[in-house]
Every structure is written in C-alpha cells, then in structure tokens.
C-alpha cells in the first residue's frame, strides 16, 4: 500500500492531465458557447500545469532498469511538443460540418458536439505516452500503450468530413489491434520465461539465470509488435494511408506521440535483456532498422501526396532511431576509441556514444521538424471551386504548395527549416540528432556491424535529401499555385513557426544541455558486462571478434 501511494505521488502530472481531460468533456459539451470555446484553453492549461509539476516534483525514484531520469525527460518532451501539437490542432473540430451545425443550432444538443471528445482524447493519448515512460511493469506498459493508441482512432475518425478519415481510422484500429496482440504475446512469453511482470524482478531473474531462448522470443515478439507504434518494417504498412486520411494536425499528432511511446517502450523492453543485445535480437533490430530506413526513403521518393511523403519520411526516421536502440547506453571499449577521436580521454559524462540518449534527443528533434512541416500544410487550404475534391480542402499535393515562397515567404521559410532539419543539415536539430545517433552506433561494440549500420544511415540520409529537397524546390521555385490560400488560424501558424525556431535552437545553443540531460537520464542503462568479459561473440560479429 505504501509503495502504491509513493508511486501515485510521482504520477501527479498524469493525474492533472486526466483531470484536464474530464474538464474538457465538461466544457466541450457545455450549453454555454463561451465554455465550449474555452475547451482548448482548458486543455492547454492542464498541460502547462502538468509540465510545471514535472519540473517541480523531484523525481528521486530509482528506476528498476537504471533509466532514472528517462521518465522526466520523456514527460517534458511529450508535454512541451504536445503544447505545440495542441496549438496546431486547436480549431480542428470547429471546422467540421457537424460541429458547425451544432454550434449554429438554436438549442444545443450535446449529443452532436464532438468538441469535448477531441481535446479530451488528445490529453488522454498524451497521458498514455507519459505513463509509458513511467512504466515499471509489463502490464502497466501494455495499458499505457493502449491508452496512447485508443484515443487516436477516434481522433482520426471524427475530425474530417470525408470518408477516407473513417476508412483510415478503421484500418488503424484493426491493424493496431493486431500489433497489440503481437506484443502482448511477447509480454506473455517474457512473463512465461521469468515468472514476473514487473521489471525489477524480471531483471533480477535475468541476472540470476541468464537469457533463455523463451525470453529472447518474447522480447523479439514485443519488438515486432511495437514496430507498429513507431511505424517500422514490417508493421509500417498502415502509415501512409492513415496519415493521409487523418486531418493534418491529427497526422502531426500521430507522427509524434505514438512514436515517442513506442520508442520508450522499446527501450524498456530491450533493457530487460540489456546491452550488448543477444545476437537474435541484435540481428532482428539491425535488419528492421536498415529495411525501415531504406524502404521508407525509397517509397517517399515516389509519392505524389505530401502527407504520404511525410508518412514515409516518418517511417525512415524510425529506422534511424533504431540505431540508437541497437547501440544502447554503449559503454563498451569502443567508446574510448571514439572519444579519443573526438580529442579526449574516455569520459562517460559525455552524451557521445550513448545510443539511448541519442534516441531521446532525436525524438523531439524529429517531432519539431515534423510539426513544422505538417503545420505549414495545416495552415494552407486549397480552393477547389464548384467541384469539390474527395480530398476536401486540405493542401496535400505538390501543386498546392507550388511557389509558396512568392506569396507566403514566412510559411515557405518554416517549411525550409523543417525539411532541412529532417535531412540533417547543420546547424539544425536533425543534424545534432544524427551526429549523436551515428556516433553511438560507431562506438557500440559491434565491430563490422557498426560500420554497416552507419553507412546505411549515411546513404539513407543522402537518399532522403532527394524528396525533402524536392518539396523545397517546389515551394520555392515552382509556379505560384493560385488556388492555395492561408487559413485564418494564427495559432496554427505560430505553432509551426515556434517549432521551426526551436529546431534551430536545439541544433545550436540548446543542443549540449538537452543531449546532456538525455544522457543523464539513460547513462545507467542496463549493460551486461564490459565487452572484454563477454562470452565468445556470436555470428553477426564473429568475423571481427578479437
């Protein structure tokens, strides 16, 4: 009982968000139009309070897997970027025909208003992501992950006046359920292998008995299932359709929040076996990473729809992030070599070489760039005249952003920053993220595999430049698209612009402190043994083993 109370004490930010979600339902379904208009403000306020609580409440709990500060870091990343997402999404329900009718009606019918649900689900999903970061038990982890996903199905289905939205929500739902089955099966196997569901005991069992094949299969199934959350091969198939079908601000949400939750969950699951990873898991992750980035980039090159391009881009970025997971906290002997290369003796207080820190750094970096990109698309709308397209008025095609520079130079500038950060051009956040990812994979004790993965990262970055730059070229040098207009949503524009500015800052002045705190959060991650004491290395690395 005492531990439960202690646990609850650390959950205040999540509790505040839940309270916010309930309040949103109350205001969103309120008779008074004023209260209804207040709903997004309520959501924002609860997120702000939650963020403040995260900052204030000292997090001195000892994480069973050594990821002491990860919860703190991820919660802030979710809440901070989440506020931008909220600014982007504010007003989405108001534009819907159903909501407009409800608001215009003489007598208010709460049954037809969807305003409350939208913001409430938004907050619930964010709560789920935060709970994932704080998970100390497989059951909790599973529930938190489901809390992330379930509200998003509704958000997709209800926020666009087209049939595609419903279609993609259904797809997302069924495929998501299938993936949940896969990773739940994995969790069950982990339980079967160790006899525990809480991380501390699993860890103790693994340390006592070593890694048995059942545990490995369990971890692998969990990884494969979680690939759905991060949109990685082979669970990536839904991404393009769903991203295209959802309203653009919701797409931005889908591209960030479930991905954060997914990567955090992957980190936790992999921590159960510890780094260096057992060969089968390593092989799985390496194959998934390379396939994901390559497939994502190649398919992004051939898309004609911008939202699909960004969907595949998001898939490819997941592939890059996988490298950090493969490297792990990576305190191997090779770290020393890399640090020497960077001009110093071995100094584990630096984030270089820590793959988990790289993942934590890269997630907000990627999120900001993606938000800026989707934000620009969300600000634009296309006048399709008398003949409304089934794609309604969303700006989705290359034509719709053609020549954006001539009429809306600021929007084009935001788009430019966003795309360059996604390519990884210095001094933007994406560059720093890739530097951290790349150096962590090089310093991981994987011999040849390190370099294979690094080369894959570099080649894929080059490929990705093709489609990112294509977007820029169209926006800057294309013929002016007459039919494209700007929505009167200053908040949405501000969110995109702020995201772009932070992307700058994160590549510049903020880079060192953020990377440092990501490192502090993960530096005590589970490392089984120094490589010198490793048992005979297995296949993947056998050829280069000492």
């Amino acid at each position: 009982m005492e531990t439960l109370l202690a646990k609850l004490g650390t959950l205040w930010p999540e509790i505040v968000l839940l309270m916010g979600a309930v309040s949103c339902l109350a205001t969103g379904l309120n008779h008074s139009p004023f209260a209804r208009r207040l709903t997004p403000a309520v959501a924002a306020a609860s997120m702000l309070v939650a963020a403040l609580l995260v900052l204030i409440i000292p997090d001195d709990t000892v994480h069973p897997l050594g990821l002491d500060g990860m919860g703190w870091f991820v919660k802030l990343a979710v809440l901070g970027v989440g506020l931008l997402l909220l600014a982007l999404a504010a007003g989405v329900p108001d534009a819907l025909m159903q909501q407009r009718r409800t608001d215009a009606a003489v007598t208010f019918d709460a049954g037809t208003s969807i305003k409350g649900e939208f913001y409430a689900f938004f907050l619930l999903s964010a709560t789920g992501a935060m709970l994932t970061a704080g998970a100390t038990d497989l059951v909790w982890l599973f529930l938190a992950l489901e809390l992330v996903s379930l509200p998003t199905y509704v958000m997709i289905a209800t926020t666009r006046d087209t049939a595609i939205a419903q279609e993609s929500a259904i797809k997302y739902f069924f495929l998501g359920a299938m993936s949940a089955a896969v990773f739940l099966y994995g969790f069950a196997l982990i339980y079967g292998a160790t006899g525990f569901t809480d991380f501390e005991n699993i860890r103790a069992a693994v340390e006592a008995d070593g890694v048995n094949p059942l545990l490995i299969v369990g971890v692998m199934m969990s990884v494969l299932g979680l690939c759905f959350k991060v949109a990685a091969v082979p669970m990536h198939v839904y991404a393009a359709d769903v991203y295209q079908g959802a309203a653009t601000p919701v797409t931005a949400f889908l591209a960030y929040v479930p991905k954060v939750a997914g990567f955090v969950a992957l980190m936790l699951v992999l921590s159960l076996v510890g780094w260096p990873l057992p060969t089968p898991v390593l092989a799985l992750l390496a194959v998934v990473a390379v396939l994901t980035m390559t497939l994502g980039n190649l398919l992004a090159c051939v898309q004609g729809n911008l939202k699909r391009v960004l969907a595949y881009s998001s898939i490819a970025q997941s592939g890059y992030l996988m490298l950090g997971l493969i490297a792990g906290p990576a305190l191997g002997a090779d770290v020393e070599a890399v640090l020497t290369l960077f001009g110093g003796s071995r100094d584990v207080s630096q984030p270089i070489g820590n793959g988990l820190a790289a993942v934590l750094f890269y997630l907000p970096a990627y999120g900001l760039a993606t938000i800026a990109g989707f934000g620009v698309l969300g600000v634009l709308w296309v006048d399709r005249g008398e003949n409304p397209d089934p794609l309604d008025d969303e700006a989705q095609t290359f034509d719709s952003i053609s020549g954006l520079w001539h009429r809306h130079p600021f929007l084009a500038g935001v788009l430019l920053v966003s795309m360059l950060s996604l390519v990884g051009i210095p001094p933007l956040a994406g560059f720093m993220g890739k530097v951290l990812l790349g150096s962590s994979i090089v310093s991981a004790p994987l011999q040849t595999l390190s370099y294979v993965l690094l080369i894959a990262l570099v080649i894929n970055s080059a490929i990705s430049a093709a489609y990112y730059l294509r977007i820029i070229i169209v926006a800057f040098f294309g013929r002016d698209a007459e039919a494209t207009h700007v929505r009167p949503t200053p908040l949405r524009f501000a969110a995109a612009a702020v995201a772009a500015v932070i992307a700058f800052a994160l590549g510049g002045h903020l880079a060192t402190p953020v990377a440092q705190s990501a490192h502090e959060a993960t530096r005590h991650g589970v490392v089984k043994a120094p490589p010198s004491e490793l048992p005979e290395p297995d296949t993947a690395v056998a050829d280069a083993a000492p």
């Binding site: 259904i170 495929l175 299938m178 494969l224 082979p234 051939v302 960077f342 001009g343 880079a511």
Partner: protein, 771 residues
C-alpha cells in the same frame, strides 16, 4: 583593451550586408546601400585600429556551438600581431575601396546587391583572419569564396561573367577539397582543430595545433619530421592555399575573375582574398616547418608562378589583364618568401602589395571609366594630359610594383623576400641550397620582367602622342575574355548615362579626370601607402621586430634554424632603420644581445629536448631576432647577401624601367621590331602558354565525356529503376486490390508475413550463432 570589442569587427560588416539587402527591397533605398556598407566597413576598421593600438592579444570565445569532451566547435577569435596586421589590410584597404566603389558603381542596377556582397566579403575575410579554430577559418574561407563568386558574377546577365564566376568557384573547389582533407588529417593527427591552446568550458585544457607542432619540431631538432603524415598535411593545406591564392596549377581562375567590377578586382582579387592562402601558410608555419620538404615546395611553386605569370603579363594587351597576371606573379613572390621561411618578408609584401595593387586596379578602373570601358592598351596613348591625377597615381603604383629603390614600398618587401631566399640558399638549409638559389635568381629575373611590363603599360597609356578609342561594342578579337569584360563595364556605363546626366558625354566625348570625391581621394591614401611611408607604417603597425608580428614569426623561425658556426648577428644587413620601428635608432647588432634572454623567457612551457635545442641557444635566438632568420651571414658576390641583393634588385628595377621607357615611350618603333623578331614567343605568351587550352583538353573534355557516359547510365539505369520503383506500388496495388475492402486484409497479411519472415531470419542467425 577588452577583447570582446573584437566581435564588432566581423559583426559590423555583417549587419551592413543585411541592411544592404534590405536596401534591395525598394529602388529608392538603393542609394543608401553605399553609405551603409561604407559605415560598416569603416567602423570595423576603426575597431580594428583600436584593438591594434590597444595591444589586443589573446583568444576570445564568443560562442560555443557544440562541445563534446575536449572537442568543441564554436566561434573563438584569436588576436595577435599577425591577425591585427591582416585586419588593418582587410578593413583599411577595404574601406578605401568601398569609398571608391560608391563613385564607380553609380547608376549600376545592382548597386545595393554589390555593396551587400562587398560587406559580406569583409565579414567573411575578417572571420578568416581572426579565427582561432580551423573550422571557423574554413567557414570564412568558403565565405570569401562565395562572395568572390557573387561579385565576379555581378553582371550575371552576361554569359562570360557567369562563366568566369563558375570557373573561379570550381577551380577553388579543387583547392578547398584538398584543404578540407588536410583539415581532417590535422584533426586526426593533433586531435583538435584549434590553432592555439585554450581552456574549454568544462575546464579541460586543450593544446593547440601550433603549440603541438612547435613542440614536435623541437623534438626533431628543427630538421622536420620524417613521418609521412607530417608532409601530407602541409601539402594538402598548400593546395588549398594555391587554389585561393591563384598559384600554379590553380591560377587560371584569377585572370578571368577580372570580369567582375573593377573595385572587386582591387579588393577581392588583388588586395585581400587572394592573399588568404599566404596568410594560411604563415599562420600554420610550424606545421609546414615540421615537414622537411613542404616549404621548399611552396618556394618552388611560388617562384615558378612568379616567373610564369610575369611572362604572360609581358605581352598582354589588356589593361586589367596585365595587373591580373601581375597579381598572380606577386603572390608567387609571397609564396617564395614563405618557402624561404621569411614569413616577415611574405607578410610585408602582402601588405605593400595590397596598397599598390589596389591602387593600380582602381586607377586602371578610372581609365576604363573615362574611356567608356576600353581595355585594350594598344588603343591608348598620351592620356596624361586628359587624366593628370590618375596618371600620377598610377605612376606611384607602378613604381611600387616595379620596385623603385628606396622610395617605393614594393622595393623593400620584394628585396626582403629575394635576399632571404638567397640567404637560405647560401646557407644550404636542409640541403636544398641550390634549389633556393635558383629560386632567388628566378625572382631577380622576374623583378626585371615586372619592372618592364609595369612601365610598358604606363608609358604606353600615358606617354607619347595623345590617342584613344572610346570603348563600345566594337572590340578587337584577340583578348577574348577581357574584351567582353569591357563590354560589360561599358554596359554599366551606358546605364549610368541614362540615370546620371552629369556623365552623359562619356561615349562620344573625350575622357576626363575622375572627381576627387569619392574616387580620387581614397586613391591618394593608397598611393601614400605605396611609398616608403607605407613601409614606415608597417613598422608602426606590427612589422616591428621586437614587439610586432615579425617577432612572432621570428620566434617561430628560430625553432628551425639551428645555428651553424657563423658568428652572431654582428654582420647582418644594414636594414633601413624604420624597420626597427619608430624611434629605434640603435644599431640592430647591439639589440640582438638584448633580445636573446628575452626570447628565452618567451616560451617557458616549451622546454626543448636536450641537444641543440634552439631556444636555449642564446646565439641562435639572438641571430634570429637580429637578422631576418639568422641565416643570412653568408657572403654573396663578395658582400653581405642582403646588401648585395638590395643593390641588385634596385639596379634590376631601374634597368627594367629604362628598357620600358626606351621601347614604349622614346623609341616605339623598336618595340615592333623586337616583337616581330620574337613573333612565335609573343604568340605563345599572348595565348597565356595555352594553359586554358591544355586544361580544357586534359581535364574539362574528359570530364564532359564522363558526364555524358554517366548521363546515359543515369537515364537508362537509374531512371529505369526509379520508374520501376515508382510503378511498383501501382503494380502491387493492382495486384493486391481486387476490392477496396481487400486492402486492409492485405496490410494485415503483409504484417503477418513480415513478422514471420523476420522471425525466420532471426532463427537462422540464432542457429548459426549457437551451432
């Protein structure tokens, strides 16, 4: 003096550049851009001078971008006498040229664009010379390259200007690529890219490249390291320097770069940017000294380029072309000087050259301006009556370039290089004695050629009977590149005529003198700097052997030159007293003994290994300080080498001027007779040794061929692949999509198959791993 003020030096021009761009917005504002740029650059000059006379020294960390352990990338400036002297040249000469350009560019449609690029250039160039980290230096290096590209292509509607800009950019790419690899190797070898040591934010102490190289050099007893990487690094850096400073084989872009407006030729392609290669090598001198053969290579290339370019200048008939090749040639002298470990001579020549070459280009610009873009000197004669001030100013510049003894600045700097090279040769330094002697002789021959071609131009243009042809669309066919440059400049003038009625009569009336403000007044200052006054100023600014950058370079040099059995500095050359700095009347010999203990105290941390460590040898240090680098006590042709060389180069210069006067002023028919006698040589030289054609045949054409092959490859294979990939989803889609509802099941199936497939892969890996 608070170093933080130093931020303003690059910052003010940067702000000015931004404001100039704002001026592009509205036509009415464009006039303000000149004032803005001038303000930025002049203020930057003022700050530089404040720092110089405030005795600024040390490093200044402005911004730390990325710090990983001991490795950090950020903006860190370093001030020492060398940097401050370079800042004087860049911002001082820059200010004068910006003032002049205000008059010269008047009426140009790209007026604000021009000044934005110029201010940006000053920003990049000051960054380059102030950078303490080679990363920042490289940033400045690329920045000046970009500005050079923008400014050469200022008349971008003209095809040849675009071609010239591209040529400059691409040729520089070759050098920059080498430089970049050199930087990588430096990082690998030294573990840092910082030139000087500093304490990082975390408290870690980083030893800079220069300190490490100096220490390594002392370890080798001044003989240079035999490790291959210690030669590769300077060789690669050298290629970068050669690209930027237009040395053989990468000099081809500079003559074409004259397609830019004349103030740009003066600022970027004569006075400042092209000397950044010289600066780089002087800055990195210990790294170069560490290699046994890098410096002699620098000297050889410099000597060869000096002679080679001088021969081309000899027969060029293009007003700006002569000066362009002369720039290449003078830069060759500077490299010759560095190669002979005479960093002082190289920097002094850099400094004097900045003055007189800027002066020459700007006066040439005035002539062009007056003649509506005419560039062919064969059409000009006796212009001294029309343009007396310009004639006088250019005369001063020509005297400096030719090296008129005692009175001109060029004489002193060129002599220092020649004498030091000869001295090093006689000393048989590192066993390359003969080579250095040959180079010194090449330098002397080049001095003769220089004096001749310089005055050939001046006598032809300003002396004799008055004759001129105004520039227009009609030009001779011979000098292809430059005649089009004339066209462009003429165009600029045409537009000026439309907008400024005062200049209306350019085209059809006689040429006239330029106005004092803003055009001739700055030239007068440049002319003063081109005389012996400039040399005095040099001593004042830091050429002082006891305090300024010369002492700095001498300290560096002293590390290499272990002293032989020659006596100490009591028989060195009677250098002119102003080189000792103002009020320094004492004979140099006596203060050499004073300098010795001083030098010992200079580097307490650098304890040399036992043996013939230089710093511990008071004689060596003393000699290094007293003379130029302690090598020049050798006798040459029966006298002290410095004295003899001074006489020789003085006489040579006079001989060249006299010959030019005879052939091009007094008795012009003789010129034609000689030209006829040497017709094939003249043709060869007029065609610039066919270097462009040779490059075209061996580099450009094969590359084009490659390009075509790859294009076909690209069109067939890559495009095919891309199209195939593009149609894949559609093919797959049509295959998997019998109905809309089937799609999701397809996805589910795909996911399940993917899981199965990956499980299989892992199983195989697992089985192989365990069994």
């Amino acid at each position: 003096m608070n170093l933080i003020v130093g931020i303003l030096i690059p910052l003010l021009p940067l702000i000015a550049a931004a404001l100039c761009l704002v001026c592009c917005w509205k036509h009415a504002w464009s006039k303000a851009s000149w004032v803005v740029a001038m303000g930025g650059v002049v203020l930057s000059f003022v700050v530089s001078m404040l720092m110089l006379f405030g005795g600024a020294a040390g490093s200044l960390s402005v911004y730390e971008w990325m710090a990983v352990g001991d490795f950090s990338v950020g903006v860190r400036y370093f001030f020492d006498p060398l940097t401050l002297l370079m800042l004087f040249v860049v911002t001082g000469v820059g200010s004068l040229i910006v003032v002049y350009a205000g008059g010269y560019m008047k009426g140009d449609p790209g007026y604000p664009r021009f000044f934005a690029a110029v201010a940006l250039f000053i920003f990049a160039m000051t960054t380059l010379v102030m950078a303490d980290s080679l990363v920042l230096l490289f940033l400045g290096w690329e920045g000046v390259g970009l500005c050079s590209y923008l400014l050469i292509g200022h008349y971008f509607q003209k095809d040849f200007a675009v071609q010239a800009a591209k040529k400059a950019f691409i040729v520089n790419r070759v050098g920059d690529f080498c430089l970049l690899i050199g930087l990588f190797l430096l990082f690998q070898e030294y573990g840092t890219l910082s030139l000087h040591g500093y304490t990082a934010e975390g408290g870690a102490v980083v030893t800079g490249i220069l300190e490490q190289a100096t220490l390594a050099l002392k370890g080798t007893n001044g003989e240079g390291s035999s490790a291959a990487i210690d030669t590769w690094i300077p060789m690669l850096l050298m290629m970068g320097a050669f690209g930027k400073s237009a040395q053989f084989p990468l000099f081809v872009w500079l003559p074409d770069a004259m397609a830019g407006p004349t103030p740009v030729s003066a600022l970027v392609h004569a006075a400042t940017m092209v000397t950044s290669g010289v600066y780089l090598i002087v800055r990195m001198l210990p790294v170069f000294q560490l290699s046994p053969c890098a410096l002699v290579t620098v000297a050889c290339v410099g000597g060869f380029t000096a002679l080679f370019a001088a021969t081309i200048a000899l027969c060029s008939n293009d007003l700006k072309g002569v000066f362009a090749y002369s720039t290449v040639s003078q830069l060759g002298y500077m490299f010759m000087g560095i190669g002979a470990v005479s960093a002082g001579g190289a920097i002094m020549h850099l400094y004097t050259h900045a003055f007189f070459k800027a002066l020459l280009f700007l006066t040439a610009g005035s002539v062009m301006h007056a003649l509506a873009g005419q560039l062919d000197i064969r059409t000009m004669s006796g212009l001294r009556h029309r343009m007396p001030v310009t004639a006088a100013l250019m005369f001063v510049g020509c005297l400096a370039l030719a090296g008129l003894p005692v009175l001109s600045a060029g004489f002193w700097s060129k002599d220092m290089i020649l004498a030091d090279t000869m001295a090093v040769g006689l000393y048989d330094w590192r066993g390359y004695g003969v080579l250095y002697q040959v180079i010194a002789w090449v330098g002397i021959v080049t001095a003769l050629l220089t004096a001749f071609y310089t005055f050939r131009l001046w006598f032809t243009v300003f002396m004799g009977e008055e004759r001129f042809v105004m520039g227009d669309e009609h030009h001779d066919e011979e000098s292809h590149d430059t005649h089009s440059a004339g066209e462009v400049e003429a165009e600029a003038h045409n537009s000026e005529q439309r907008e400024v009625p005062a200049h209306h009569d350019h085209m059809h009336d006689a040429p006239h003198e330029m106005p004092w403000w803003p055009m001739n007044a700055p030239l007068v200052l440049l002319a003063i700097g081109s005389t012996v006054v400039g040399v005095w100023l040099f001593g004042l600014l830091g050429g002082n052997e006891k305090a300024g950058f010369e002492k700095m370079t001498l300290d560096a040099v002293a590390l290499v030159e272990h002293h032989g059995d020659t006596g100490h500095g009591d028989e060195h050359a009677p250098l002119p007293s102003f080189r000792e700095g103002p009020g320094e009347g004492a004979p140099v010999a006596s203060d050499s003994h004073v300098a010795a203990p001083h030098a010992e105290n200079e580097h307490p941390p650098l304890t040399p290994p036992e043996g013939r460590g230089i710093q511990t040898d008071p004689h060596a240090a003393a000699d290094a300080h007293a003379g130029h680098h302690g090598l020049h006590h050798a006798t040459f042709l029966g006298g002290d080498v410095h004295v003899v060389m001074m006489w020789m180069s003085g006489l040579i210069a006079l001989a060249g001027i006299a010959a030019a006067a005879y052939f091009h002023w007094v008795h012009r028919p003789a010129r034609d007779a000689v030209a006829k006698a040497f017709a094939p040589v003249v043709t060869l030289l007029r065609n610039k040794w066919y270097v462009d054609e040779i490059y075209d045949a061996i580099i450009v054409q094969p590359l084009k061929l490659f390009g075509q092959v790859f294009y076909i490859f690209d069109a067939l294979l890559i495009d095919g692949l891309v199209k195939l990939t593009g149609s894949m989803p559609r093919i797959l889609g049509t295959g998997v999509k019998p109905a809309q509802s089937g799609k999701m099941q397809g996805y589910g199936l795909g996911m399940a198959l993917g899981v199965a497939l990956l499980a299989l892969i892992v199983l195989v890996a697992f089985v192989k791993g365990t069994g």
